[in-house]
């Protein structure tokens, strides 16, 4: 049993934390995250230079990492620093490109000079890929895509878009270059897009790669869980500081038991969230991957909301202001549950996995 980070991982975490502390204060962050193009090429280049993007894929794929532990170490710091750069799309997109034979694109992405995003979900699909409706049709040498993709994180300004669509063989993945998008600011910062496709030309990476897609999404979920753990830890720190400073009735409100107990409950849940994320990391690539990831995404979703709401409440009016950093952490924690399947979706997935296991046993 050993829960310590390796020396390499500790160094990676330290350098990323230092980079964000030095270059990415909350004003900078908010300026970049809430206005078009919803990210900063300068910050992106800085992250790439630190090796953050390269850590998303293995050495043989052109990166220098690629394990779930690499990803969780990075995203915990991303969460702590509330970094709104489009890393989630890069993580999933890059892994799929490398897996599906377009590793030639990896070098530029790892270097930070081009970006990729992943279009999986649709207006009527939140988690379960069986409901994907977008169609891909072969036409001569090429393919044409029709349908609407939604919740494409980090798509604005991305050079490559990977689009999941239905083929005769199953669910395939297609590459399109800088298509026209419907883009918006996300509630918690960063850009998100919809893509309306009407016979859109695309390159086919695989006509049937649902398992690869699920795998990339699971890695995205690990990233989100780790990001939430980092954000929770920081938000709890902020809350503790505030309770110690804020005076009412002639003393710091940290002396009030009603608040102390609630803070302790938040802390216990943080440890639980950290533990279940460790389970997701440890189970990655094993037969427990889907189960552990869904458990983690479920607990993180529920507790992220709880910690966010409690932090806002314990700050009182200050917690409601745009100016207060904690408010943006709270928003991120609630909205993480909306990404890649929420806590209810993942309970359903757990139940389906249970049924599948029973089916195998029978």
């Amino acid at each position: 049993m050993d829960f310590n980070l390796s020396e390499d991982h500790q160094m990676l975490a330290d350098s990323l934390r230092r980079y964000l502390t030095d270059n990415y204060d909350i004003e900078t962050r908010n300026a970049q995250a809430y206005a078009e193009p919803w990210h900063s090429s300068e910050t992106w280049a800085g992250l790439a230079e630190l090796g953050i993007i390269g850590a998303f894929i293995s050495e043989e794929q052109g990166g220098f990492g690629g394990s779930a532990e690499d990803v969780s170490v990075i995203f915990e710091e991303i969460g702590r620093g509330l970094c709104a750069e489009p890393l989630l799309g890069a993580l999933m997109g890059l892994r799929l490109l490398a897996r599906l034979g377009r590793g030639d694109l990896a070098e530029a992405i790892v270097a930070g000079s081009t970006r990729v995003a992943l279009a999986v979900y649709e207006p009527h699909v939140a988690c379960d890929l069986s409901h994907i409706e977008a169609q891909a049709r072969q036409e001569g040498d090429g393919w044409r895509l029709t349908g609407r993709k939604s919740a494409i994180y980090g798509a604005p300004g991305a050079d490559h878009l990977l689009v999941a669509a239905r083929t005769d063989a199953g669910i395939g993945l297609f590459l399109v270059e800088s298509p026209e998008l419907i883009s918006a600011t996300m509630v918690d910062g960063g850009g998100v897009s919809d893509l309306v496709m009407d016979e859109l030309k695309a390159e086919c990476l695989s006509p049937d790669c649902r398992a690869d897609l699920e795998d990339a999404l699971d890695m995205g979920r690990v990233a989100l869980c780790a990001e939430a753990v980092g954000a929770m830890a920081h938000l709890i720190d902020l809350t503790m500081d505030y309770l110690g400073q804020r005076q009412q009735f002639g003393r710091p409100i940290a002396t009030f038991q009603a608040l102390q107990h609630r803070l302790v409950d938040m802390l216990v849940e943080l440890e639980q969230c950290r533990s279940i994320t460790i389970a997701a990391v440890a189970g990655f690539g094993t037969q427990d991957q889907a189960r552990n990831v869904s458990m983690a995404k479920n607990l993180i979703g529920r507790m992220g909301r709880k910690i966010a709401e409690e932090a806002i409440q314990m700050h009182g009016g200050i917690g409601m202001t745009w100016e207060y950093p904690g408010a943006h952490y709270a928003k991120r924690l609630v909205m993480i549950d909306h990404q890649l399947g929420d806590h209810n979706d993942h309970v359903l997935r757990l139940l389906e996995l249970g049924d599948a296991a029973k089916g195998r046993a029978a």
Partner: protein
Amino acid sequence: MDLDFTPEERAFRDEVRAFLKDNLPEELAEKVAAGKELTKEDLLRWQAILHARGWLAATWPEEYGGPGWSAVERHIFAEECALHNAPRLVPFGLNMLGPVLLKFGTEEQRREILPRILDGSDWWCQGYSEPGAGSDLASLKTKAVRDGDHYVVNGQKTWTTLGQHANKIFCLVRTSTEGKPQEGISFLLVDLDTKGVEMRPIRLIEGGHEVNEVFFTDARVPAANLVGEENQGWTIAKYLLTHERTNIAGTGFSMKDMERFHRLSRQMTRDGRKIADNPVYAARAAEIETELEALRITNLRMLANAKGGAAGGIESSMLKLKGTQVRQAIQDLYRSALGPQAAPMANELSENELAVPVEAARAAPAYFNNRKLSIFGGSNEIQRNIVAKELFRR
């Protein structure tokens, strides 16, 4: 990062499993599985089996008859015992008085008392709480006044768990009213046969007799029965609170209860479908199971932190908080899954005639009984106080 036990620890676990398979009497395991009350003889029988193997006093050093286990080994042992439905070990002698004597007692007290705990000659109970001193334990009033070679004890203790089986009680008593209330408390050992000591049963919410109240009227206790110094009792009590509390998260019990829920949910049909196929129950179960899985790892992380030493008070408190929440959530899930079938009170005669499996026949009483989990051993509110005090100290 590595979540696995070492090969040595895994070998130890196999050894524990093999031992339990060969030595845990089936009729005891069945009673535990069904949530039936164990008799004094049942409890002593299991204790004797463990004693014969040298595994009874998990936290004691080898010199005094303990197995010399690491914190991880103690955890493995406790979890395996729970998973095999071994009877719970009554903690008062083994995990409370034992460690107190080892830390604060005289060598003479250790040599005299510890072997009698191991071989079952003495059954100890705990005299801490009083009608007016629960969470505010330091306000206790039971008085011990020195009179020559004796203390004269007057007052009342309560919530004395399994006192009906005991012949001895260790008490916190007031020996001084000077200074802060904490500074006038002593730790005193009392023979329950002493004239002026009387025990009366308290019937609990579900009908069972698990706790008692103890009255002291001019009871004369030899002064040699004092543990530590006079007025050192609070230090001793605090030591026990922060002393490593093996199995405080009770993950083994929760895993076992979850297993039992799944068994029921596959057996029992309710309104046309198995409970397992009822999406509301299935979803609740999945979420509780998720919290249990997280707790299991939190427990291991804190064990790894402790690195063979004692877990700090704050970790114990956090594990107690979440552990009892999870256990109570499972008890609640199990009771509610039974629907109207949860109402009949089973007894030895009716349990095989009822519409539910024997192991489910006491679900509702068990649920009510287990409300105690968040109240005893330092209520969950007190646990939160302990953590908060540590947090805001910085």
